[in-house]
């Protein structure tokens, strides 16, 4: 896949992951499918957390057991050791099988790994996420993940012959399942009727148009008033506006200088220096005012190419 360069291409790729869910009261709710990369990252994080937790618990249990002499076979174990062994084997089973289920049944519907990368599990039909669905989607993990990985390690040695290669191919189908459907569901999602969505936590940023030169178009530094004409404002579209918004919110001086210079060149102004922020704030406010009023009349300009 070539890296997208044009803003329209970036938007297309983002739009491909957008879904509209109509809630029971008829509000169209935008959802966005979690990207495969984010999901892989979440899985790796979860496996790391699990491994570290189970290994450290094992070490604690073994450390306790070291005090007693280990005899041959299970039948020769003294009572205390035997109890520790039971605890250890049950811990292992329930940790590896229950971790995902326990966390996904919580109010956030996400494992710690998913929470870190900002994903959550949801039901595909817009109903509630039931415990059955969570159990179902996590029971298939063996076939989707562990078996294919084992096969990948074993098959190339050629012991299984043709059957081994066939099995490997078959399991790879399950491993690569998310790449074969547009909702990037794994097989577990398919049989549970779930999908994994982006759940970003956003803080509400301050309004830009109440501060600085955005409000009245005049600079606090020089007192100069910036007024842009219609033809100067009609160069850019919504994509550039939102880029400009990001630059203003980040507030990095070098980016502000570069953007101000670019805009000046584009609209044919003489680029001054020392007052770039006020210039950009004024430009931003007036461009947004123009685009929003056009929007009310049903005219939208996506970017400078449209």
């Amino acid at each position: 896949m070539s890296s997208p360069s044009l803003p329209s291409q970036i938007r297309d790729r983002r739009a491909r992951r957008q879904r509209i869910m109509v809630t029971p009261e008829g509000v169209a709710l935008p959802l966005s499918i979690g990207s495969r990369g984010a999901r892989a990252g979440a899985l790796i994080l979860d496996l790391l957390i699990l491994s570290i937790a189970t290994l450290s618990l094992s070490l604690i249990i073994f450390g306790t057991a070291l005090g007693t002499r280990i005899e041959e076979g299970l039948a020769g174990l003294p009572g205390s050791l035997e109890f520790l062994f039971v605890v250890w084997s049950l811990m292992w089973f329930f940790a590896w099988n229950g971790y995902f289920m326990f966390f996904e049944m919580g109010p956030r519907g996400a494992t710690p790994g998913k929470r870190i990368v900002g994903l959550r599990v949801a039901s595909r039909d817009g109903g509630r996420l039931t415990p059955e669905a969570i159990v179902a989607r996590n029971l298939l993990r063996d076939v989707e993940l562990f078996l294919p990985l084992v096969m990948l390690l074993v098959t190339p040695s050629g012991d299984g012959g043709a059957a081994g290669w066939a099995a490997l191919l078959w399991f790879l189908v399950f491993l690569l399942f998310p790449f074969f459907n547009k909702d990037s569901m794994r097989a577990g999602d398919l049989i549970a009727g779930t999908w994994v969505l982006d759940a970003p936590k956003q803080k509400l940023a301050a309004t830009l148009s109440t501060e600085g030169a955005a409000a009245d178009g005049s600079s606090a530094v020089t007192g100069a008033a910036y007024k842009f004409g219609d033809d100067e404002l009609s160069i850019y579209g919504e994509h550039e506006l939102q880029t400009l918004e990001r630059v203003l919110r980040d507030g990095r001086q070098d980016a502000i200088d570069a953007v101000a210079e670019t805009i000046c060149r584009k609209i044919g102004w003489e680029a001054g220096s020392g007052d770039e922020r006020a210039f950009l704030e004024a430009f931003y406010a007036q461009l947004r005012a123009k685009l929003e009023s056009d929007m009310r009349f049903g005219k939208r300009k996506a970017d400078k190419f449209s």
Partner: protein, 354 residues
């Protein structure tokens, strides 16, 4: 995770300064500033809900949640048509989404779910996959008969069928005494619970695999059942050749009735999903798969519970109890499961589980 800061220890200001609505140059920003307070209030309620601090919510908050949610949703609809402030839009989208998950995700706790599950949902799910259970049962019986016949025709089959861990003393040609020895009653329970834990984790892993394979293949899942039962058939032949059929059956039935039943259910649940996807009826394939999957998952939770029972039975009564006690326990367990799955809860009205 938030980084710890000093401000953690200071109380938040109760009321933030009201934003200067008139100062905003843009109409869309004025719209936003008018509603910001309510959005923040909703966000605060959501935050506490997600933390699981239900007790900290006042009745007023709970009652307001749906109203605030609808308000935010309509704000989003308006903002999309009038505002180009991407910060506001992304914030609102994530806010409405979070609110939607809380408003339409009335979850009951794990205990409530378990009570409903044991109180009828499990039995209902098992009754719903009766057809697959019949197929799996037929396959397992066939497998047992096949194992018996193969070994009866040619003893060499015994060595290729039965895994080496069982062929310690239990080989064709072994005398009656040696075979009796393998069925003997143990004197003490030492080491038994460890044995049980091992059995459980191993069997539970195998049955989860059988379920998952049932979805992935269907056919190999059946083959797995056939092979395992063929081993049983072969050993049955071995013991019967020395007139120990009854003793062997009693020894096996203690946990076997539970364990074989659980494996039967696991295979059937996996097959059920495959069958639903192959023959979805008037539903879409995805919907049929989801329905079958949820049903299968319920059965699988039941299977894991059964395997816990089976492991306990295998470790203690099988090794410690005598001949008749073994048979009685085995038959009782079988009747218990049958009654629980197919008789219990038949007349109950279905509770809402969707």
């Amino acid at each position: 995770m938030k980084a710890p800061t000093l401000s953690m220890f200071t109380r938040k200001a109760e009321i933030e300064a009201t934003p200067d609505i008139e100062a905003a140059a843009l109409r869309s920003d004025r719209f936003r500033l008018q509603r910001e307070g309510e959005w923040r209030r909703l966000e605060d309620i959501l935050h506490r809900l997600e933390k699981g601090k239900l007790r900290k919510l006042s009745d007023k908050d709970v009652l307001e949640l749906p109203a605030l949610y609808r308000m935010a949703a309509s704000s989003l609809a308006v903002a999309r048509e009038t505002s180009l402030d991407s910060a506001t839009l992304t914030y609102l989208e994530s806010l409405v989404q979070r609110a939607w998950f809380q408003v339409y995700g009335p979850r009951y706790g794990l205990t409530t779910w378990l009570r409903q599950f044991l109180g009828g949902n499990l039995s209902r799910a098992i009754r719903e996959i009766w057809l697959d259970i019949c197929v799996a049962l037929f396959v397992m019986v066939m497998g047992t008969i096949a194992g018996w016949l193969l070994v009866a025709r040619d003893v060499e089959w015994y060595y290729s069928l039965v895994p080496t861990q069982f062929t310690d003393s239990r080989v064709p040609g072994a005398s009656r005494e040696v075979l009796m020895e393998s069925l003997k009653v143990e004197e003490s329970a030492s080491g038994m619970s460890a044995f049980a834990a091992q059995l459980f984790t191993n069997n539970a892993g195998v049955s989860i695999l059988a379920f998952a394979l049932g979805f992935a293949f269907g056919i190999p899942s059946l083959l797995l059942l056939i092979y395992n039962m063929a081993v049983l058939g072969a050993m049955l032949w071995l013991f019967s050749s020395q007139d120990l059929t009854w003793e062997f059956a009693a020894w096996l039935s203690v946990h076997g009735t539970t364990e074989l039943f659980a494996i039967l259910l696991a295979g059937a649940a996996g097959m059920h999903i495959g069958r639903k996807m192959a023959f979805p009826g008037h539903k879409s394939i995805l919907a049929a798969a989801a329905e079958g999957g949820r049903r299968g998952a319920q059965v699988m939770v039941g299977v894991v519970l059964m395997l816990v029972f089976a492991a306990l039975l295998e470790a203690f009564p099988r090794q410690l109890a005598g001949q008749e006690a073994r048979a009685i326990i085995g038959i009782f367990m079988l009747l218990f499961w049958l009654a629980y799955f197919f008789v219990y809860g038949r007349d109950k009205t279905a509770e809402d589980t969707a």
